[in-house]
């Protein structure tokens, strides 16, 4: 579904990604971990098409198509979804209005009829229950005055409504207490399907107790320093990112086998 080859990218002239290679297939859940500043969020933003991230080399193929020239709204309509690390507030625009406009934009692109208000509400109510969200949040302005936990749940709600093919969750677990984390994890688990790929970008192993990934990648200094199965996350938790960075430095010096297959 997604193939990233030798991706280099810079933010405000500063190189952040130094050659990422990654393949994600439908039905898989990948965790991308790494210390602060390793390029996790930059990778997520490149995929969603944020303007301030400039790709300097490499390519990204999504379902065989070149993703990089597509404007962000086109990517979203093609089924790419980014759950934001910091969801944006839009005063004056009701949450439900944004949801409906987004869903109908996507449906139209898929050649499906737009949903009317009644069918739409029925759909949203179902998803609200899953996310344990109060219906009143639909009628408030987008993310305005939401608590940290409500904002993150709202992102997963949007994902559940839009049903993307490729979902990228950028530090969705940060700032959540344990109860909220469970709700968010349940929402993501419910989205797991053979047709869908999910990339979890996270700093901590904690989230992976609830959503067990198929693959774990560790980013260090803009490269994938290690890849492995779910136990790589546990190993990381006990040995810390310093261990990975040390390994990455050794490899950079000596070359050799970069990724440890498990």
């Amino acid at each position: 579904m997604l193939t990233i080859r030798n991706l280099h990218a810079a933010v405000e002239g500063k190189p952040i990604l130094h050659g990422i290679d990654l393949s994600v297939h439908a039905g898989e859940v990948h965790a991308v971990m790494g210390p602060n500043g390793s390029g996790k969020s930059t990778l997520a933003n490149v995929l969603a098409g944020r303007e301030n991230v400039v790709v300097t080399a490499g390519e990204v193929l999504y379902e065989g198509k070149n993703l990089l020239p597509m404007p962000p709204e086109e990517r979203a309509r093609e089924g790419v979804f980014l759950a934001f690390q910091y969801p944006v507030e839009i005063p004056g625009v009701a949450n439900i209005y944004l949801l409906k406009a987004a869903l109908n934009a996507v449906r139209k692109h898929r050649g499906q009829p737009e949903l009317d208000a009644i069918d739409f509400l029925a759909l949203v109510k179902d998803k609200l229950k899953l996310m344990e969200m109060d219906q009143s949040l639909l009628y408030r302005s987008v993310n305005e005055g939401f608590s940290g936990g409500e904002k993150k749940r709202n992102e997963i709600l949007q994902m559940a409504v839009l049903e993307p093919k490729l979902a990228i969750l950028d530090e969705t677990d940060s700032g959540l207490d344990i109860d909220a984390l469970k709700v968010v994890a349940r929402g993501v688990e419910a989205m797991r399907s053979p047709q869908r790929a999910i990339i979890l970008v996270t700093h901590y192993q904690r989230l992976l107790d609830y959503i067990v990934p198929d693959k774990v990648h560790v980013l260090a200094k803009g490269r994938i320093a290690m890849s492995g199965g779910p136990d790589l996350a546990l190993e990381l938790e006990s040995r810390g990112y310093g261990w990975v960075e040390a390994q990455a430095t050794t490899q950079a010096r000596g070359g050799g086998d970069a990724a440890r297959g498990r």
Binding site: R77, L82, V93, A101, S141
Partner: protein, 486 residues
Amino acid sequence: MTPSALELDALISREYQHGFYTAVDADTVPCGLSEDVIRLISAKKNEPPFMLAWRLKAYRHWLTMSEPLWATVKHPPIDYQGIAYYSAPRSQEGAQKSGPQSLDEVDPELLRVYEKLGVPLREREMLAGVAVDAVFDSVSVATTYKEKLAELGIIFCSFSEAVQRHPDLVRQYLGSVVPYTDNFFATLNSAVFSDGSFCYIPPGVRCPMELSTYFRINARNTGQFERTLIVADRDAYVSYLEGCTAPMRDENQLHAAVVELIALEGAQIKYSTVQNWYPGDKNGKGGIYNFVTKRGDCRGANSKISWTQVETGSAITWKYPSVILQGDNAVGEFHSVALTNHYQQADTGTKMIHLGKNTRSTILSKGISAGHGRNAYRGQVKMARSAGNARNFSQCDSLLLGDKCAAHTFPYIEVKNATARVEHEASTSRIGEDQLFYCQSRGITPEDAVSMIVNGFCKEVFQQLPMEFAVEAQKLLGVSLEGSIG
């Protein structure tokens, strides 16, 4: 995408739609202003002597005045001798003297103009519940539903006709809210005004339909100086709509109108405007100078006047729909959306003058600036010594798109009674790139995202508009924001 967002999308890519010119054989007086021109206008309209006397008093006073310079707008000096002060379609000539006429007598060419603008004047084709007075350049060409309204004792006709048929009412109320000495543009209007709408609602009558005036400037080098006078007698109610368009021209055209509202005891007047005069092109060439004096007088106790305006057009807007709260417990409201894009300039706001006890006023102003637009809110709240327990609440919000536009807020507050309460809130926000990216990452185009955010920003004001007008206003914002992003 929702249907309305789709519609906006289509509309955003359009330019000013009402910019056509209609070739009609017109009787236009030569450019320039003098006592002779005023006598000529008065004679063409077969006016009684009191009207001519009033016009001449205004003209002589105007000669002693100078153009106000305090507004935060810039424009080259206006050549008042380069303007024609009267232009009427020749087919309407007879009608001007004889007054009333049926639609069958109206030049079909003029009816077509209004149809093209989406304002059909044939009653059977009209939206139920809206009576229209259509003003073309200097004269009113048709007023619909007149008979039906007359059954209730409601007078709704052109100003010229009112002068002929109801001279006593005109004489009693004309200039009683905006005196001929009021300000430079209002005084000029008093001297040369050619037509407009007149409306009188008798005591206890609730006007069953929206009354509406549609103004159209057509002729070149012509100013439009219309005058509207609305009187709601005791416990009467009326809702009034005003719409306007003009052809696209490279020169600027002056529109200096006066609107006077009078609400007697227990009466209510709701006045809504969707102003879409030609705003000039992308580079700021051409467009209407809209210098308008609008004022309402809550003359009786428990009366209420509310202004709602959506200002998207004009090169320059200079207007402050105001309310004088004379009667005890009177209520004044002002709801406004003013949008400036490209090189448009707006200096607009309101005045709430509290004289009576327990009077209340609310001001809600939403300014949107895009491109090189300049948008100023200027508002005055005055609590007189007599205004015990009077209250005002003002909220002024500005929304900026891009970094070349400007927004200013100038509140003037004057309180002479210690029991009066005045509250003022203001905010400025910008449509940020992160908001646009957030919407885009949900499949929404930047254009739709801007429409969505702008409509959300204006929602509270749109809720005040009658239904069809609210839809029109939303569409207009879409058109007016064309080219403001990317």
